[in-house]
Amino acid sequence: MSRSPGRKQENHKISRELFVLTYGALVAQLCKDYEKDEDVNTCLDRMGYSIGIRLIDDFLARSAVKKCRSYSETVDMIAQVAFKMYVGVTPTVSCNSAAGNEFSLILDKNPLVDFVDELPAERASLCYCNLLCGVIRGALEMVHLAAEVTFLQDRLKGDAVTEIGITFLRKPEDRKHRRN
């Protein structure tokens, strides 16, 4: 999506198929390069992280959202604005813990796995969309929110839905002192 100078802002959309195929090729190549599933997952997470630290500014620049004042606001923002903007789906949000720092995003549609029906037997613990987890983790870190993001359930592994869990690592009071 490059913008050439002098043109009005048009959204040049690259075909979604191309993106999904590219992602699939990436995962397939990583599976060839690494034997263990954990290595592939870590690699995907790292790649997602380096995407996330750059994507966050694009998100903030385009959506012009205000600073979120609580973890639940943040997760709502991720689900309703960010996912909508970048992936095209809106996951539902649920809060998992009483402490208010564990949340889940439940996706019923995941465009990245449109063409994948199930994981091969030798790759049973592969998290196919782990890139997304890395993206969310990287993006949150750039706005000073440390979080752990993992897949709690995955339709590709036979679960009913795909669920991404976000656990914020710092206590909510610490946020007030994090300024500048």
């Binding site: 490059s2 100078p5 750059r54 500014d57 903030l60 620049a61 600073k67 300024r179 500048n180």
Partner: protein, 219 residues
């Protein structure tokens, strides 16, 4: 030229991008005979006009060149002290060029870090929690507008006090940064921005904002 310069400061307070947009101020070159009716004094590493403003030569202007050759700070090109040279009647008539001294890149780096610290102090002094920090610094000759993103990057624009639409311009610069700097895979975060596309698009955005001018809303 209503927008003078753009500064981008990273989270640590280091200047990562700077653009001077104003047309170079007119330098004034005049021939003088002894005695010189301007009062000159040394200031930092330069010789500046302290009194005797006339004909486009203003107080604060520095001596830029003598007899066509540029001076090196307080010394002429052949190593003589400028004030001594101008105190000697044997050197007259002499042609001196005066003008505003441009900031060197080191000076700009220092000023950017200083502003970063002031910004931090400003937001802590705020009586209300969650202050946005310094958004505007106003003087009689320019206004400095600052926008800090939620990720800690600061965009500063120095513009004419009458220039409107700077808020929209700051948001646009943020977009341009997120497009041409961040999406460039060879650009490392927090490092000086050396992306040609970023320069081009930024200059374009500045021109658009200037055209909209003080008469209407910015783009």
């Amino acid at each position: 030229m209503a927008i003078f310069s753009v500064y981008v400061v990273n989270k640590a307070g280091g200047l990562i991008y700077q653009l001077d947009h104003y047309a170079p101020r007119a330098d004034t070159e005049k021939t003088f005979s002894f005695p010189l009716d301007l009062v000159l004094r040394p200031h930092d590493e330069r010789v500046v006009v302290a009194f005797g403003q006339r004909d486009g030569i203003r107080v604060g202007h520095a001596v830029l060149a003598i007899n066509g050759t540029e001076v090196n700070g307080r010394f002429t090109a052949d190593g003589k002290d400028v004030l001594e040279f101008l105190g000697n009647p044997a050197n007259y008539p002499v042609s001196i060029r005066f003008g505003r001294h441009r900031l060197s890149s080191n000076e700009k780096l220092m000023l950017a870090s200083m502003f970063h610290s002031l910004f931090a102090i400003g937001s802590q002094l705020s009586p209300e929690v969650g202050s946005s920090g310094i958004e505007m610094l106003e003087t009689d000759t320019f206004k400095l507008h600052c926008f800090q993103t939620l990720t800690g990057i600061k965009f500063m624009v120095l513009a004419d006090p009458r220039q409107t639409g700077i808020d929209a311009l700051l948001r646009k610069i943020y977009e341009i940064y997120s497009d041409f700097a961040l999406k460039n895979p060879f650009y490392s975060l927090e490092m000086p921005i050396r992306c040609e596309l970023f320069d081009q698009n930024l200059k374009l955005a500045l021109e658009v904002a200037e055209k909209a001018g003080p008469f209407g809303p910015g783009s």
